[in-house]
Symmetry: C3
Subunit: 264 residues, 3 copies
């Protein structure tokens, strides 16, 4: 379903088309995710005011909704942007940051799923499981579950929502409810840098914008995260330098890097 060659071709497409990715995302990671999109070749815009959501989602190639620092006021903008994106049939990525930590977050995710019909839902294991089962508790924004445990629930969630589900963890799983793609690169430094999951969601938007189907786009984005992560980890001395090397790697990544480092 996905090969190093295809991942490389999609990266070339992101660089060639430079899709405009409209992000309504959290304050913590805006800078990182904008930089990751730029480094990968896409064009990011961060905007949330209800007054301009139709206009901004109206010129974008993908929309990313991320509830990391959620407030009532921002949900209004997310809903307008989401409905505009849906009407225009551009991909919508939902990152349910902290779902399972508070009822407000879990319920907002359910509302966004119901009203915007995201193309891809990308989160950690706890967050994905919390969208199916109210027994799951997320520790703030950090997962308490492994991605292996989340896979069955992810398949159920995919079938219920018609969305591709992308779970990051030691193994990343991307599923449409039937097919499952695994990315087996495991980079221990990655969860030590804030916003790497959010970065994965932003790149998922960029890759979905240039892919024929959402499953491939979502998987290619996680593959690029993995390969850039491997390169960064090999040069890093800690989370600070990892973050810097990660952006450099996204910018310089080539087919050889993908062939050598991607573990499918």
């Amino acid at each position: 379903m996905i090969t190093p060659q295809l991942v490389g071709e999609l990266l070339q497409q992101v660089r060639a088309q430079s899709p405009l990715v409209h992000n309504i995302t959290n304050f913590v990671v805006m800078n990182n995710t904008a930089n990751a999109l730029l480094s990968a070749g896409a064009s990011p815009v961060m905007a949330h005011a209800p007054e301009e959501m139709e206009a901004m989602a109206g010129i974008a190639s993908a929309l990313v909704l991320n509830i990391g620092t959620l407030s009532r006021q921002w949900v209004e903008g997310m809903l307008i942007a989401g409905k505009t994106a849906r009407k225009r049939k551009i991909p919508i990525v939902l990152d349910p940051v902290g779902a399972g930590a508070t009822t407000f977050r879990t319920e907002t995710c359910h509302q966004l799923i119901r009203e915007c019909h995201p193309t891809v839902i990308r989160g950690n294991a706890s967050e994905i499981m919390a969208l199916i089962s109210s027994d799951i508790r997320t520790k703030g924004v950090d997962s308490t579950e492994s991605s292996d445990e989340a896979l069955q629930m992810a398949k159920t969630l995919a079938r219920e929502t018609q969305a591709v589900i992308s779970i990051s963890g030691k193994t990343d799983y991307i599923t449409d409810g039937t097919q499952v793609i695994c990315i087996r690169n495991h980079i221990p430094l990655m969860p030590k840098v804030t916003g790497m999951g959010c970065t994965a969601s932003a790149l998922t938007g960029a890759f979905a914008a240039v892919s024929n189907d959402a499953l491939t786009g979502a998987a290619a984005a996680m593959a690029i995260m993995a390969v850039a992560g491997e390169k960064a980890a090999s040069a890093a001395k800690g989370p600070g330098s990892f973050q810097m090397h990660f952006l450099d790697a996204l910018y310089t990544l080539n087919q050889d890097d993908i062939n050598q480092n991607l573990k499918l």
Copy 2:
């Protein structure tokens, strides 16, 4: 009262327990402080919506209130989180960023102190002095006073508020109104990076969460800042690389680093 050995033990506790630190903090530093908490071994969450403040402060091990980019709407969330934290007896750290620069900031600090009873108040000299004397003017968010001059007022503030006061400066002073702990590492690059004070407040939350008393926790956090700062400064070529090395240092810091670099 504090020794390199104790600082090292508390760092081990942060890494072992990975306390969830709930931050209601400013837009400028959210990324840095989240990364510093992760690098030190803690688990950060940034959340401010009144709708989820009871739930989020309800699962946290410490709460950090930072008024750096204050607005009326956020104070509401701070008050709910603060009262929840107080009820649960988890440590509350207040960072009075820019107190003394505007009446709005100074008065909001007084309200937060009155209604939430912070365990630790950590700021620069001007900010701490402005909480006692309305004659003090802070230059935006930068101190116009030395920490030496602030010490007497800090003792008074500690006795009045029952909080530990932690003043950063050339010498850091941490006092409960009676005892005074000094950290004598002076790192000139530190005030050249935005949000290092805010990072100190976030780490104070993490260390207070694993300490038996607030004075020790607050002092250990400043000790870790100092030691990581020394390591970063020795490798840095300016504020940009300092910031990167600082996170790497927090992540890799060991007992030897503390023994060799901490100046009590």
Copy 3:
């Protein structure tokens, strides 16, 4: 009109006076622009609450208004700060981020120009052209036009608004409607890092604060961006390391660097 010698002297003035620059800016770049101001020797403050705008703009040496993540609520603060700054005759820099992408942004810029009379308007080519012609469409926050094409419209805009117009691009143009200063350093990595334009606007505030006239101040800021950019680019391996080296370069820049690297 501008010489390497004069740029160096103004940099010395920024370092000596450390002007307080009050920024009402976007969430994406707050950290970068605060750090760039600190590295250059200025003192940044980020504040937006209407309740403290008179007080904060009342102690500042320059005001920077940046609409990157605009919302209705923030415009209120911008207007109060802008009017306070105007009354105090301190320089006001407007960065019309994303003007031309949505009507909300373009119209807000017109309102800020009308009511606050910015001293300098600094943007990319699309943004500047969109303030003159409603035919121009900005791709999110990225320019679709070259700065060469924007120059004539910039002159018109300068005459209409009485503001200095500063356009960044392959060549930077700074004009008061009559005189034109060109900075010919072209640094391809610069648009691959988010917020470099916003950083230019923030530094424009700092340099305008220490300059006798706005044209010189605006040009000196772009010159410093260019020279620090050249130094950073020569050391960088991608956008991640560029960003780090850029801050280090701002901090360490001397007259020799300016003499050797500035292309007027």
